[in-house]
């Protein structure tokens, strides 16, 4: 039966609810279970003299969202083995971070997940603030939440565009997504000066204050965005082709998702209620009313739907933040731009980036540059269970499963 799922109906009304969405608690033991028992794998039909076929999909395959290779072994159309191969876009980010000053690492973090530069900035400065004890003022915290949620809108809209393009919707939804993204990118450009590589956040604050009229423009963009989301959902959520292609495809079990360390919308689509905005409540997220959408089936459709719903919640957070933002300074008076030399120590800071838990791990030895600079990229960790989701599916499904993982190779390879 092809139909949109009823459990998401209650979310569409746009009313802020209490609690954290539909329940997650049919208390499963979160033990380590590999789902790749390969029950689904068909045996080769020897009567036809068929043979398994090894195909290297990528690194130049258009469906791989960058330079990524899937070495798949196919039995006819069915995937029986899949090996993700990455590293083509490796550019020594972590080592550069160890040789550069703390300040000079910020523009490099822009280039990790180049669609969500603002959240990358935030994750890094959040980590260094944890290390040095700098405290951004109220206004800076609000601006950070606003730009992070706008980034979430950009990321999820584009991801859905790419995902349905992988399903064969050639361009139309993606072009709509990019048209809407343009409004947000314009906001970011007038704020930070760049359209993608913002380099906006600083330890204990921000680089510059909002230009005049920015809040009003942002309010307009956000108001239009919920209208656009209605349009986008009318275009896609009920579409029978999308439903047929995505429901029941690429199922990721709750236990496997937890034991593999999957985070972000991938994990929540599998029904685990884990969002660092609620768990850590970093920044000032405890001041806003929002819910965490959860899926039940953990398939591609749930992952699609979770992202749509997260965008609606992001719009709610933006409405609240844009209404509440106070006047005031944007930098900690103790913060200085150059010559940061934290005391020896180590720190792990993490935030909920649109793709999942983005963490930075720093070891400092009192010198002007970190001794160790390590990133926990959500895209890479979420990619590790690709084979478990793809086994027994057809090649065309493997493509959309990869699309639903939401990877950006800049972050996977670093």
């Amino acid at each position: 039966m092809i139909a949109p799922r009823e459990e998401f109906k209650s979310w569409q009304s746009g009313v802020a609810g209490n609690g954290s969405g539909n329940g997650s608690g049919n208390g499963s033991s979160y033990g380590a279970v590999r789902s790749s028992e390969a029950k689904l794998v068909k045996k080769t039909d020897d009567s036809l003299g068929g043979d398994l076929l090894e195909v290297a999909m990528g690194p130049h395959h258009p469906s791989t969202h960058g330079v990524f290779r899937m070495d798949v072994v196919l039995d006819g159309e069915t995937v029986v083995k899949l090996k993700p191969v990455f590293g083509y876009l490796h550019r020594n980010h972590e080592k550069i971070g160890e040789t550069n000053s703390y300040l000079a690492a910020i523009p490099y973090t822009d280039r990790l997940d180049y669609i969500c530069s603002m959240t990358n900035n935030w994750a890094y400065v959040h980590t260094v603030e944890k290390l040095t004890g700098l405290q951004p003022p109220e206004r800076a915290e609000y601006i950070r939440v606003i730009v992070a949620e706008l980034t979430r809108l950009v990321n999820h809209t584009c991801l859905i565009g790419f995902l349905v393009q992988d399903m064969g919707a050639l361009g139309t939804p993606l072009m709509y997504a990019f048209r809407e993204r343009e409004n947000i990118i314009d906001l970011f450009e007038s704020l930070s000066g760049s359209r993608m590589m913002f380099n906006y956040m600083r330890f204990g604050g921000l680089r510059c204050d909002l230009p005049p009229g920015w809040i009003e423009q942002a309010k307009r963009v956000v108001a239009n965005y919920s209208r656009f989301l209605d349009d986008y959902e009318a275009l896609l959520s009920g579409n029978e082709i999308l439903l047929a292609r995505s429901q029941g495809v690429g199922v990721l079990k709750k236990d496997l998702a937890i034991s593999a360390g999957v985070t972000g919308p991938m994990l929540r689509a599998s029904g685990v209620n884990y969002d660092l905005r609620k768990v850590d409540q970093y920044g000032i997220y405890n001041r806003f009313q929002f819910r965490i959408p959860l899926g039940e089936h953990g398939d591609v459709f749930d992952r699609y739907m979770i992202r749509v719903l997260e965008m609606r919640e992001a719009v709610k957070i933006l409405d609240q933040a844009l209404a509440q933002i106070p006047e005031g300074p944007i930098n900690d008076p103790k913060a200085k731009l150059r010559g940061l030399r934290p005391k020896p120590g180590e720190v792990y800071g993490r935030i909920e980036s649109p793709k999942g838990e983005l963490g930075f791990y720093l070891i400092t030895d009192g010198s002007p540059n970190p001794y160790r600079f390590r990133i926990r990229p959500p895209s890479l960790i979420n990619l590790t269970i690709l084979e478990d989701m793809c086994l027994g599916q057809s090649v065309a499904d493997a493509v959309i499963i990869l699309g639903s993982v939401d990877i950006v190779l800049g972050e996977v390879d670093r």
């Binding site: 300040l103 048209r179 450009e189 380099n199 680089r207 275009l235 009920g238």
Partner: protein
């Protein structure tokens, strides 16, 4: 009914298609070489050097302090200090760069150099048509290509440039006032010394005695 979702989606597409002829919200593209979008004031691409007055060599604000060279994340700036000094806007003698090169094939336009510069010298440009036929020579910008007048800076970043101009003008006035006060104090001190010397010696000759009869 199977297919109703498809039809609903097609209605959306139709709405967007016809909207793209009359709805400004749906007309988003700019026909680039003929039309150009107005970039916001904060927009930045590559760095340039500001100079005051007419002469790029004489009015260059850069003092070759090399802070930008040290802080640049990609290390694309190369500076050689000149041995001679020249006066800056407040009349203080400062070094200036003999060589100031920026390799814009390496520069990532992060703007940290402009942020850390204590002399308001290096600022971010808004030019974006930077393609050249040559990979190496043309993308290594020298001091001559990088130096741009303050009036250009005022045109692309009016708010920031206005603030800097006011501050520099104040600095200059303060320096002038200080120089004047210093000169007066010196003159006074000299006069006092002279007076003291005169008082201790014979009284000064009256004008009548000096004028020839």
């Amino acid at each position: 009914m199977l297919g109703s979702g498809l039809i609903k989606g097609l209605a959306q597409t139709a709405k967007n298609f016809f909207g793209s002829y009359h709805d400004p919200a749906r007309m988003v593209t700019v026909e680039y070489p003929e039309q150009k979008r107005v970039v916001p004031e904060a927009s930045r691409t590559i760095p340039f050097l500001v100079y005051d007055g007419e002469d790029p060599e004489l009015g260059l604000r850069c003092t070759a302090c090399k802070i930008c060279e040290v802080e640049c994340p990609t290390q694309c700036i190369y500076i050689v200090k000149n041995t001679s000094k020249k006066p800056d806007h407040v009349g203080k003698m400062q070094f200036h760069p003999a060589t100031f090169d920026i390799d814009i094939s390496v520069c990532m336009g992060c703007g940290i150099c402009a942020e850390v510069c204590p002399f308001d010298s290096i600022k971010m440009d808004q030019v974006f048509e930077l393609s050249t036929a040559d990979r190496f020579e043309s993308l290594l910008l020298h001091k001559q290509q990088l130096a741009k007048p303050n009036s250009y800076f005022g045109k692309i970043h009016p708010t920031e440039a206005g603030e800097i101009d006011i501050r520099r003008e104040q600095d200059k006035r303060k320096a002038e006032a200080k120089a004047k006060a210093d000169a007066e104090a010196k003159a006074r001190a000299a006069a006092e010394v002279q007076n003291a010397a005169a008082n201790s010696a014979a009284p000064p000759p009256s004008p009548q005695t000096v004028t020839p009869a």
